[in-house]
Amino acid sequence: MTGLEYTLQTFELCKKYEGRSVVQNVSMHVPKGQIYGLLGRNGAGKTTIMKMVLGLVKKDSGSVTLFNQEMADYQSGIYARIGSTIESPGFYSNLTAVENLSVFSRLRGKVDRNKIRNALGVVGLPYQDKKIFSKYSLGMKQRLAIANAILNDPELLILDEPTNGLDPIGIAEMRTLIRKLSHEYGKTILISSHQLSEMEQMVDWVGIIHEGSMLEECSYWQLKENEHSYIRLVVKEPEQVNEYLKNDLSIEKITRPEASVIEIYDLKYGTLELNSRLFAAGFAVAEISKCQNSLEAYFKELTGGAGIA
């Protein structure tokens, strides 16, 4: 990740709760103007990392650098450049969206009606709505949380599982909104999720976190390279077929996940041609198919079998 300008970096970040490590030596690099997905299972430590970045949780060791400035202590000027939504949206239940945003806007300085109108417009919530927060659907609450996050036109957005509890259409809309915020408004976005499928169509960079440790940090395209196609064979005489593939067809990348199963990663032959050759050589093929080694399988490999939904 060299040659990039970073909005947020963490170095060897650690946190323990009652003697139990929840974040261990996490170094993360969020490039400016891009969407960084923090991916991990529930309880992996994603929210704690975000909270440490925002100063909501004290770090035990390590450092956080925001906008090229190391955060040693509370600095209101720096935090004013960040918009965030952590866990479930927190608003006053007896106030409307505009009233809630006015409260938080006042805390940031002064109430700007135009900014509130714009923020609500971006997330698709009506400005003149008398409905109070407690009557909102979960999707509307999530949208309001994002409206609050973008209210002050921040440079960095930290969104903790913003699609939690949304229906598939709501997730798609949220994804479009987040992409829009990055591509049209130039925001740097750090987003967390435990759902790989959500991240796949949205992020530029990915950090995979498991049991408090950063397992991998790479661009989305680097991650995609781990998706491989292969041919899966189920045969009667696996030993002989294996020898035949290696010696007669010069196929190198072969694995044997099960006794009668052969996986061929060297795709110099298609399924049709391979089947013909095996048939011609006198081997009985029970099953032949072309498969995709998904990112899910890759994550399982990384996390030692835990996987991500």
Partner: protein, 226 residues
């Protein structure tokens, strides 16, 4: 909640006026004043604790505290703001209480309604309520510690109110330990008389309690993970 609290507080002198007019018209001025002081000593700390508990607990329960802190409000400023708003509500409420009490006194006891008597009554209530607020500051510490819970601070509030009321009934031999205990000291400071030896022990004890509570809440909140 604050409105409800104010309503309960102003109901105390209204109840005492009604009581004197309808139930016990023979009641004398000093007896009426002491009954009012007793009710004030018992009810005001309870309502006060309920208001601050409700105010803090909602911030934790609704998770608005995270939005406030990430809206770049420092933790010190947040707590100071809470304390100031709490105190202003308390000030308005007990001022309303005193206005109604004085008006009632004028209506019920026109002969005893002299500048000296009213000055003493006002001083007694103002001092007692002000000291009661100071010894209530540790409740804020419990509110911060308990986060979204409700009962620990309410239990402490009840304990504080009972101790303050008990201070009015302390026997002579227990007066020194009662002066050292900040909650009983609130009542004793009113009885002991301004400037006396016991009064200053009460004064120091009450202010140390408030200071310790304030320092404790600042330290606790600054180190608290949200």
């Amino acid at each position: 909640m604050a409105w409800m609290g104010t309503l309960i507080i102003v109901t105390i002198p209204l109840f005492m006026i009604w009581n004197c007019l309808i139930i016990d018209p023979e009641k004398e001025y000093m007896e009426w004043l002491m009954s009012l002081l007793m009710l004030n000593t018992l009810v005001l700390p309870i309502v006060n604790g309920f208001v601050i508990t409700s105010s803090m607990q909602r911030e934790y329960q609704d998770r608005t505290i995270r939005n406030i802190l990430t809206a770049s409000v420092s933790r010190g400023k947040f707590l100071t703001a809470k304390l100031v708003v709490w105190f202003l509500w308390y000030l308005i409420s007990f001022c309303l209480f005193e206005v109604i009490a004085i008006a009632g006194c004028y209506a019920l006891f026109p002969i005893e309604f002299t500048t000296g008597n009213m000055g003493y009554a006002l001083f007694l209530f103002t001092q007692s309520n002000f000291f009661s607020f100071i010894v209530g500051i540790p409740i804020l510490l419990i509110c911060v510690k308990q986060q979204a819970l409700f009962y620990p601070s309410m239990l402490a509030t009840l304990g504080s109110a009972v101790l303050q009321a008990a201070g009015l009934q302390v026997s002579e031999e227990l007066i020194l330990p009662a002066c050292v205990c900040p909650w009983t000291a609130v009542s004793i400071s009113g009885i002991a008389g301004f400037g006396t030896y016991y009064y200053w022990i009460c004064f120091v004890s009450i202010f140390l309690c408030g200071l310790a509570g304030f320092m404790g809440v600042i330290i606790s909140f600054k180190n608290q993970d949200q």
